[in-house]
Symmetry: C2
């Protein structure tokens, strides 16, 4: 193993250059005008996997953006590990809040700044570089490996479920590992065992054929922004609980030992406040911060638009207003049932003076791996070798639809290894990854793959 | 007079061409990038007034956009009439809702389509063409005339008050007449005797240093859109009354005869609903439609913006949210007092988890001319000659800050003569004026000026 690690240390500069090439590709999956970039990014990764020695490498079409696949299956006595990552990224706006252009990577104070450098390009690239190191050093890998790199994670993995269903045999493995998450805290490594589910809603209201003069129609015309504000305001009560009927019915309460474990974790609330710039933490009454963040379902408005929003004054009553909302779900909540309840409830809140159209999209159920699964011991051992510190077992408040898919179709254990820092501005301007986290990430994944050769799947 | 009217009828095609030149100039006063166009428009009008025989014509600077002035004072025994109009226009957006480009006038089915063709370029141009006709036919005017054409009406006449104060002697007159309003209904001419006042508010909320991931921060981070929705929702009660403390304290209730006069007016509610495309009329409980529209104060959100509003999904908790609001005030409400009450109230509704900044701007008090003022008889007689029908005495729900200024500083009666149709899409896409209304408007203003020569100011 020391040779593998040495190789990684000797090639840092080259690996960084290659990562720069990867993040320069603006593979924004949600924007139709970037579809070509998403495709280019898939081709870049496929070429890379092929060059370093993976077999059967191909980009495979889905309903929208391609999947990159590659395998190496020449270790008959070792388990087969499916490595998942996503090469698509969030839109970069608001552009004016970036200190350097989002798709021109730049290092400042040891941080690599670029859209997608953390989420998830830099982290999936660490796995690829670990694989390269094994190939170049030993000519083989310690375990059998399959890569599945997705291009639709940031849009709710809309085609992944069907893709995995169709290719279940090809993707068959003993476990899935991935890194699309951060360490618990700087220098506190983590294995993340749970994610939240996701529902996306868009509400569109229309009250008139056109915008109306607020003088001539003020006092007689419905205002769809006012209606939308009333609806959004009604979606939460004074305790910050979501008012959708039945929203909390299926939520499983934590056990006393889970609550105690979470409360024992070394959370630095002040550091979190400073890094986010939040004035205060808020949220559902009666639950401590980590529980609100990981184990409680939420509702957030992601965007709102209506009427005149330029500089100056325009005295209109707008004819339209729109809001985008995400719901984060926890284990045992059924996304389809909740989405329907949300649509029904919002519709019931809209008066007859507006046309109300609601688009609902399910991004996936919440996911949870049991803490006593044997594979976690081997992964923890690999992590410990890289950091000289035991990882904590965490959850994330985010949502990775792919995990539910793997659990449901492949029936395998799944573990997410936190490689980045918690305050890396993912989904926000000035997304960044420390150089160190990238280099160490390559070593962590190499150690984990090496340890997994001794794991015996049941 | 018949010669004057004949001249107008013979020169319709030329006058229409000139109006087209005027509306082609995109004199959008609120957008800094159009400041040059506003200036060009002022120069165009000044050149025009000079060419037709007005004296002392000049563009006079203000804090932002110039005033166009011109006079003719060679009728010693006749009253002096100040003619007011505004040559600035509203922004044209949303552009995609226009059937022809807003600054390329086009006639379809007898309607001239262009931004500003009704509000107010076409109507002020009718006065100019009436003046031209008197000059070309008689070589004189029936009354002394001063023109004051403003470039800031659509941004609340921010410099007009100071301008009129500074030039009170130059602008001294016996009355102010203008047309910046419609007839009461198609074929029902009107003299408008009252306007509402106007306050503009902008609320900006900020909760964090940057947009945050709705997975990692959902359940712990304040959402400024949610806060804004809560604030906007709290600004009205279940009876659609504005909840700003003291908002209705100084409102003078209508007399029984005023209520009866308004209820006797031939209002076609169904036509208003059809032309606006509204599904239902709404508004303050307990007041009939015309009273809600003309005589009751209102609050309307003109625009709202926060977070991600593009196509697709972006799972963020935004750091900022913004709303623009107008309040329409009625006689006896003090705008400064109401603006302060609004700011204080909104601030009291904002929690400590957001930075709340509120910008308030007073556009002017409400204005009301007593119905028994003698000048109204002369104006009504002029109108009747053009339309063969007596005008009604109406109000408007809109706001013309200039009128309060004239009343306060010049101490003269003011009358607004409705020349356009009520459904002309002012402040909205596809603003339009009938060709007929423009041609008749020239004749109406000629008749009114001719009748006013017999009015003896006290």
């Amino acid at each position: 193993m020391q040779q593998v690690i040495n190789y990684l240390r000797e090639h840092r500069s080259q690996h960084l250059d290659e990562l720069f090439q990867l993040v320069r590709i603006p593979s924004v999956s949600t924007l139709p005008e970037h579809a070509g970039d998403v495709k280019n990014c898939a081709n870049f990764l496929a070429g890379h996997l092929e060059a370093l020695g993976m077999k059967q490498v191909k980009t495979m079409p889905t309903g929208r953006h391609p999947v990159v696949y590659g395998e190496w299956l020449e270790a008959p006595d070792a388990p087969t590990i499916l490595i998942y990552g996503h090469y698509d990224v969030q839109p970069p706006d608001p552009l004016d809040q970036w200190d350097s252009p989002p798709f021109e990577p730049e290092i400042r104070d040891g941080q690599i700044y670029a859209r997608g450098v953390v989420d998830d390009k830099g982290l999936l690239f660490a796995y690829i570089k670990a694989i390269e190191s094994f190939f170049d050093t030993n000519g083989t890998l310690p375990v059998n490996v399959k890569f599945l790199l997705e291009g639709e994670e940031e849009i709710g993995s809309e085609n992944l479920h069907a893709f995995v269903q169709e290719h279940a045999e090809l993707l068959n493995a003993d476990a899935v590992i991935l890194s699309d998450n951060s360490m618990f805290a700087p220098d506190v490594p983590a294995i993340c065992c749970g994610t939240r589910g996701l529902i996306f809603l868009q509400i569109d209201l229309e009250s008139a054929a056109r915008d109306l003069h607020s003088g001539g129609f003020g006092g007689i015309a419905e205002n769809p922004i006012q209606v939308l504000a009333d609806i959004l305001s009604a979606l939460k009560d004074d305790n910050e609980r979501v008012t959708i009927p039945g929203y909390y019915d299926d939520v499983v309460e934590l056990t006393e030992s889970e609550r105690q474990y979470f409360s024992s974790l070394p959370l630095d609330e002040e550091a979190l406040k400073t890094s986010s710039g939040l004035l205060e933490f808020v949220g559902e009454k009666g639950f401590p911060l980590l529980e609100r963040r990981w184990t409680r379902p939420t509702l957030d408005v992601n965007g709102i638009l209506g009427g005149f929003t330029g500089e100056g004054v325009k005295t209109i009553i707008p004819s339209k207003a729109m809001a985008k909302i995400t719901l984060r779900l926890v284990p045992n909540q059924d996304p389809d049932k909740i989405a329907q309840a949300a649509v029904d409830y919002i519709r019931s809140l809209a008066p007859a003076t507006v046309k109300c159209s609601i688009h609902a999209e399910v991004g996936g159920r919440a996911f949870l791996t049991p803490l006593d699964h044997p594979i976690l011991t081997f992964i923890a051992k690999g992590i410990q070798q890289a950091y000289n510190r035991e990882p904590v077992f965490s959850r994330t408040g985010g949502s990775i639809g792919a995990l539910t898919t793997f659990a449901d179709i492949l029936h395998v254990p799944i573990a997410m290894i936190g490689l980045s820092n918690p305050d890396d501005n993912i989904h926000a301007p000035n997304e960044h990854l420390t150089e160190t986290a990238f280099y160490t990430g390559c070593e962590v994944t190499a150690h984990v793959l090496n340890e997994l050769k001794d794991w015996k799947p049941e």
